[in-house]
Every structure is written in C-alpha cells, then in structure tokens.
C-alpha cells in the first residue's frame, strides 16, 4: 500500500533562517506531488506541484522554492524565512491530476 511521510511534525525557526521540509512517498511510482500551506482556519493554498523529477510548477510567487531530486521525494525550501511563512504545510500525492489526493500529516511551522 502507498504511504506518505512528512517531517518534521513541528518546527520553530527564527526569522531569516533557512528551511527544508521533506516529503517522501512509498508504494507508487511517478506520483504527482504537491505542497500546500494552510493558514489558521482557512482552506489550502497550493504552493508547488510536480508531475515528474525536476519538473516543478509554482502557483504563488513567494519566498519559498521546491525541488524533486528523486521520483518520490519532494522538498520545500527557503533561504531566509519571513514571519509570513508561518503556517501548516501539507504534502500530498496523487496518481493523476484528476484523482484523489493523499496527504501527509503536515508540518506546523512557527517563525519567531
């Protein structure tokens, strides 16, 4: 069966520090991968999606970047965090773009 792992679960970082969040999927090949951010009490905002290794599409211009160095690995990064980067970050995968998405348990990021 397929599983998705996302870590860390919580992270507290100072303003201006770098960020690296990792997401890996097991049990499937060539998944579509997604990074979302969820503000408190809000819906999900799609940040990045990838349909293959090295293929990244950005939905919202911002302080973040994403990379897909391996088929089932998706990394969210920042060189310098801003206060506005605080939030709940969720990684997800799907077989096809019009199929259900399967989410990890998220990373709660707090910027101080």
């Amino acid at each position: 069966s397929q599983t998705i792992h996302q870590w860390p679960a919580t992270l507290v970082q100072p303003v201006g520090s770098p960020l690296s969040l990792e997401c890996t999927v097991e049990g499937t090949s060539n998944p579509n991968l997604y990074w979302y951010r969820q503000a408190a009490g809000r819906g999900l905002q799609l940040l990045f999606y990838s349909v293959g290794i090295g293929q990244i599409s950005s939905e919202v211009p911002q302080n973040l970047s994403a990379s897909r160095p391996q088929d089932r690995q998706f990394i969210l990064s920042s060189k310098k965090l801003l206060l506005s980067d605080s939030g709940f970050y969720l990684c997800a995968w799907s077989v096809l773009v019009d199929q259900p998405q399967h989410f990890g348990d998220g990373t709660r990021l707090s910027i101080l």
């Binding site: 809000r42 819906g43 599409s57 939905e59 259900p100």
Partner: protein, 114 residues
C-alpha cells in the same frame, strides 16, 4: 480566488442527527471532491463526484452535485462524535497546458456532541 465555498462555516449537532454541508463554486468543473481534516492532521479524501454524476454514496456519506446551480452537498447520516472534523470541498481548475489542479474552500467545522 476561491473556487469552492462551503456553507455553513461551522455546524454543531447532537450525536445521531444528520449533518449537511454545502459547497458552491463559480466555474465549470470536471469533478468535485470532499475531504475531511481532523484537528492538526492532514486531509483525508472522502468522495470524488464527476460532473456527469448527480449523486454518490459511501457508507454514511451521501454527496450530490448540481452543475446547473454549481453546488454540491455532503450529507453525513447518523452522526457520531468521531465525525467531529473540518470538511472541505475541492474543485478542479485549469492551471494551463492541460494541467488541472484542485482549489479548496475554507471548510465547514463540524462538531458532533455526544
């Protein structure tokens, strides 16, 4: 801009009652999905309904879709305390070059009181 908008924003019911949540959207869709999120956790997919379908069932869940009104509803029958969660609808949108992505609403927060 938000494609799907859930209504109500919050709903509180007694255990055993039915819960109905609605979702409205603005542009044409290929499919609409409902997800559930327990507090502090990731989303869990519940049901996907395609634009040529009008109703779908899964256990105690019933989803309807009215493309003429651009709306969908999620009915949870015989609710349980464990159904307490936020429920989101998600619609697909054309993000260019034939690629479709999901747009999520802000969700309905359901509280089921034992």
């Amino acid at each position: 801009s938000q494609q799907g908008e859930e209504d109500p924003q919050a709903l509180s019911i007694q255990e055993g009652e039915n819960a109905t949540m609605n979702c409205s959207y603005k542009t044409s869709i290929n499919n609409l999905q409902w997800y559930r999120q327990n507090s502090g956790r990731g989303l869990v997919h519940l049901i996907l309904i395609r634009s040529n379908e009008r109703e779908k069932h899964s256990g105690r869940l019933r989803v309807t879709l009215d493309t003429s009104k651009k709306s969908s509803s999620l009915l949870i029958t015989a609710s349980r305390a464990a159904d307490t969660a936020s429920y989101f609808c998600a619609t697909d949108r054309d993000s260019g070059a034939g690629s479709y992505q999901l747009t999520f609403g802000k969700g309905t927060k359901l509280s089921v009181i034992p």
